[in-house]
Every structure is written in C-alpha cells, then in structure tokens.
Subunit: 343 residues, 2 copies
C-alpha cells in the first residue's frame, strides 16, 4: 500500500487547472472573487495565488485525474476529456463551499473557509455559480455526448445532495442504522466518484458497458475512500488530515465506525452511546475514551474490513472491464492511494 501521489494526479492538475481558471473567469466580479479564493486561484484580496505561476489549489485533483483516466479507458486522448474533468471538479467544489457553511467549518486546505472570509451569502452564491458553470461547460460541448455527460453529472449531484441532507438529519437522530449510514456515504461520496470515473468516457461517446464498468469501480472505490476517511477522522494524525485529532468524535459525527460501534449490541457500544448522547463539549479524556470504545465495540475493525471489501470489489470491476492495461493500473493506483490509511 503506497501513499505516493500517483503521476496522473499531477498531469490532471496541469491539464484541467487552466480550464477551471478559464471557466471561473466568466463569472461576474463579485462572485468570481469568492469562487477563485475557494479554488485556491486567488487570495482573499483577489491576488493570484501560486508564486510559481501555476494556479494553486484544486486540492488533491483526484476527481479530474479519474475523469481523464476514463477518457483514456475509452482509448481516447485525455485532452478530449478536459471539459468533463473540469465539470466534476467544479461540482466537487460547489459541494465543499456549501458543506462548509452547513457544517460551520472554518478551515479547509489550511486556509479560512470562503464563508468566513466573504460571508454566508456570498459563499452560497459562489457555490451556486460553480454548480451552474459545471453544467455550462458540458452543455457547450459536442452533442449529444455533452448532454449525456451533463445528465450523468446531474444525477450524481442529486445523490450528493440527498447524502448531505441525510447527514444533516442524522445529527438530530440517535437511531441511525448502519445500513442508512452506508446509504448516506454512497450518496454523499461514492456517487460523484462513480461519475468522475466514467464521465470522461461518456463525454467521448464510449459504449455503455465501459461507462457502467467504470462507474461500478468508482462507486466501490468511493465507498472505500469514505470508510478510510472516517477512520482518519478518529485515528488520523492532524498533520495528515489537516483537522484536529479525533475531529469526528469532537463534533459527534455519525461516521461509519461510530455507527458500527453504536449498533454493535456490545457493552462498549452502549457506553459510547451514553458518552455521545450529551450536548456539552467533550473533554480530551472523553474523546480518548470514545475512540477506545469505538475500537472495543468493533467499529474500527468493521470499517477496516469494509474498506478492504470495497477496494476488492473495485478491483473486480476493473478486471472485468475492457481497457488498456496501463489505464487499469493507474486506476488501481489511485484507488490504493485514496484508501492508504497512514496509520
């Protein structure tokens, strides 16, 4: 298991970054400045970021890399998938801007979140604009493939919204089942990942079998990614996650390991439920104890096993789908990278 950034991710940033910057430059000045800040293209005063002349930001650029790979899976030059890759990255960032407001998060990618800098209203608008830009880019592309890609993206956005809606609703519930929690993760994370892994192929008019095989890979890899992310939310090192230690326990998030523990029917699971049921801020001792209880209730082991299962299923989808061997290897490399636990 490797934690080295796969080469395709760097390539994607170089190919797709300029397309995203060009798209954002079409926004009106007030909206553009917020969007550019969030994307890491500019600082809070509108000065271009990235002293090396390259656009900064774009986070991990995983989704664009997957989208370009899917274009190559269709035996087409990655350059032809740039619009599709940019659209997926814009949608991902639309959801980040809005989620940061909903979750009250004040920091992202080691910078203050957009709403803390520009206000909630301006951040809502910037998210809206990124969402519409994503569709614009696809609808301007060649027909009918642009239309197909747009529908693929649209369907994944509706699932993204459904997942975030469920996540918000879970905060007020103490009867969330593990199945509901998995469905939420499927909607919130895996749907857009499935779209990223197939939209490039769809955009160049690849056959449905290829698109479906790639989407299956993406759905499983996306779930493995979320399971891993939930493990890091409890046991990840702050320097790796960019968040405070045990941040998901601190916010009482109904993450997969937590819900697995709460629904385990074990004594540590019940203890965990009692500990998390209050509304007072949890002390550092409480947080340590909560992490131990999740582990003792089997929540950690279940999540690790599930991540392995999903990763294996992703691998099966890859094996069963016809594509060039080097592309298959790069997909597998990215799947391993995003599920590397670093713990």
């Amino acid at each position: 298991m490797t934690a080295t950034i796969p080469a395709g991710v760097e390539t994607a940033r170089d190919l797709v970054g300029p397309a995203i910057a060009a798209a954002v430059s079409r926004l009106s000045p007030d909206v553009r400045s917020v969007a550019a800040y969030h994307l890491g293209l500019a600082d809070a005063d509108g000065r271009p970021a990235g002293a090396d002349g390259r656009p900064g930001g774009m986070g991990k650029a995983l989704r664009p890399a997957l989208a370009l790979l899917s274009t190559r899976a269709a035996r087409t030059a990655p350059e032809r998938g740039v619009a599709a890759a940019a659209a997926v990255e814009l949608v991902h960032n639309f959801s980040l801007v809005h989620d940061d407001i909903m979750d009250g998060d004040t920091e992202r990618r080691h910078r203050p979140t957009a709403w803390t800098v520009f206000g909630v209203g301006a951040a809502i608008l910037a998210g809206d604009a990124l969402l519409v830009l994503a569709q614009d880019i696809l609808l301007e592309g060649p027909a009918p493939q642009g239309l197909w890609a747009s529908r693929c993206l649209s369907a994944s956005v509706q699932r993204l919204i459904a997942g975030q809606g469920a996540d918000l609703a879970f905060e007020r519930r103490d009867d969330v089942t593990l199945e509901q929690c998995q469905e939420m993760a499927g909607d919130k994370t895996a749907a857009l990942m499935a779209c990223a892994c197939s939209i490039g192929a769809i955009y160049v008019g690849a056959p449905a079998e290829l698109a479906m095989g790639l989407a299956g890979f993406g759905a499983h890899a996306g779930l493995a990614f979320q399971l891993t992310d939930d493990l890091l939310g409890i046991w990840g090192a702050p320097e790796v996650t960019g968040k405070p230690v045990r941040s998901d326990l601190r916010t009482r998030k109904k993450s997969l390991p937590v819900v697995a523990a709460l629904t385990s029917g074990t004594r540590p699971g019940d203890e965990l439920g009692a500990l998390l049921s209050g509304t007072e801020p949890l002390s550092e001792d409480d947080l340590l104890r909560a992490a131990d209880l999740v582990e003792a209730a089997g929540g950690k082991a279940w999540t690790e096993a599930q991540a392995d299962v999903q990763l294996a299923s992703a691998g099966e989808c890859l094996a069963e789908t016809d594509m060039p061997d080097d592309v298959r290897a790069e997909f597998a490399g990215i799947a391993e990278f995003i599920t590397a636990r670093q713990s």
Copy 2:
C-alpha cells in the same frame, strides 16, 4: 391599467403545478420536505397543503404562464411546454430559497421562510436540489431542444447569480451608480423573465427570430416589473406587498428609486444620503422622511417614467414579433398586470 390576475396564470398553475409536484417527489425525503414546504405543497410537518386537493403555493405563477404562452407563440399546444415552464419556476424558487437566507428574510408569501423552519443548511440544500431538478427536467426532454432550453436557462441563472452578487455587494458600498443599479436589476430580475418568455418556444424548436423577439419582450417587461416592485417597496401598501410598509428603506436597500435620488445631485438627494448613511435602525419618522426625500429628489418620478419606457419597449418587441394575436394580447395583459402600481 388592470390588476386582475390574467386567465393564463390560473391555467399555468393547473398545468404546471402537477409537473412541479412530480419533480419534487423525486427528491430524497429530507430534502423533499424542505422543498415542498417552500413551494407551498406541504406544511412544515409534511402534510399536503391546499384543502381543495389542488397543490397550494406556486406564488403568482407568472413565469410558468409566460413560458406556456411562448409555446403558444410558436403555434404549439401549451401542454408541450410544461417541462420548460416547470423548469423556470423551479429556478425561480431556487433563487428565492437562497435569497431568503442571504437577505435574512423571515417571511415569504405570508409564511415563515424555509431557513427559519428547517435551518440554514437544509434550506441551502433544498435550493441546490431545485436548481438541479430544473436542469434534469429539461435534459430529459426531447433532444436537441431540451439541450437548447437548458442552455437558455443556465445562462439566465448565471445572470441571476451575478445580479444577486452585485446586490449583496451594493449593501457595503455608498458609490453605486444608477447605471450599475440598472445592470443589477437586468441581471437579477430581467434575465430570468426573458428566459421565461422564450424558453417554451425554444423547447418546441421555434425559429431563433421568435425566441429572440420573445426574450426582448421579457427583458423589458422584467425591468418594468423590477422598477414597479421597487416603487412598491417604498410606497406599496403592506396588504398588497406582504411586507412591512417602506420595507426597502427600513433595510437601506439600494433600490432603483433610492439610487436615482442619491445620484440626482439635488439637496434632497444629499439629505437622503446622510439619513441612510448610519447603521442604527431607522425610526418610523426617519422612514417617512426618507420616502419624502426620494420623491423630492425625483427618484419616484424617474422610476415611474422608466417603468413606462420599459413597458413601451416591451410592447414594441411584441408588435414586431410574429405570433397569434390572442397570444400577443395575453403577453401584453401579463406585462400590464405585473407593472400595475396599485397606488
């Protein structure tokens, strides 16, 4: 000048209401309940609204009525434009849900706004979902007209966002020119109205000249509507506007009559600037005085004259565009209805 609701508006509600209810029913439960509440399809507890069995809400349903008229302008049955009409209404409501959060408005259509009932996060998501639904409906329609209609809608949403962004930015500025204010109104209100007046024709594949003539009518009528709305925001009766008396002055909104007064170079205009420059809540006496100053500075007369100019331009567009006479008469009737000042 009449204030009777044109017959086409009732018809539109009957035709488009079910399509909107069907679209909303596709949303996930958590998101659906917020969207249905905002649209007046359900109360805050999820019970269906409208004791007569008809969906409630849909506000004035002006935009769907205009969209169906544009289908008829293309000499096609209005039933064929239902998807386009529903999409415009969904976008309009997306913007209302998000604007209510940004503007901190607590009441709409005589009910508490969605964010006050369900929270800011859930309301942001519901707005997002309505926006994506609108595109879904069009993209599912016949190709390539569904694609054309989708691009028309998308372009108007970007202008809507630009206009709302400018409106938010104006709150923090005291140097807004009348030209900038008119541009903002064009983006925020007229662009979607232009889309509503042409999208039905576009959706049934009408020639470009018809679509452009209708869009021109909609842009002028939309500006006339905004100018009238700004007059009502100062001099409208609360029972007509559903808002407190002089509400736009209360919130120090940079509406068109206010900016016309502020930039008039007159003594009352300067006095108005001094009065509105503070941050303390304005007393009822201050509000009365501010309204008088807007009028004395010529802001009211300018706005009324501009509304008449725009209405006349809208009429010219209608006269120059080939369509059945009864459709032209209905367009004119709606334009007069939405600019009736009731004062």
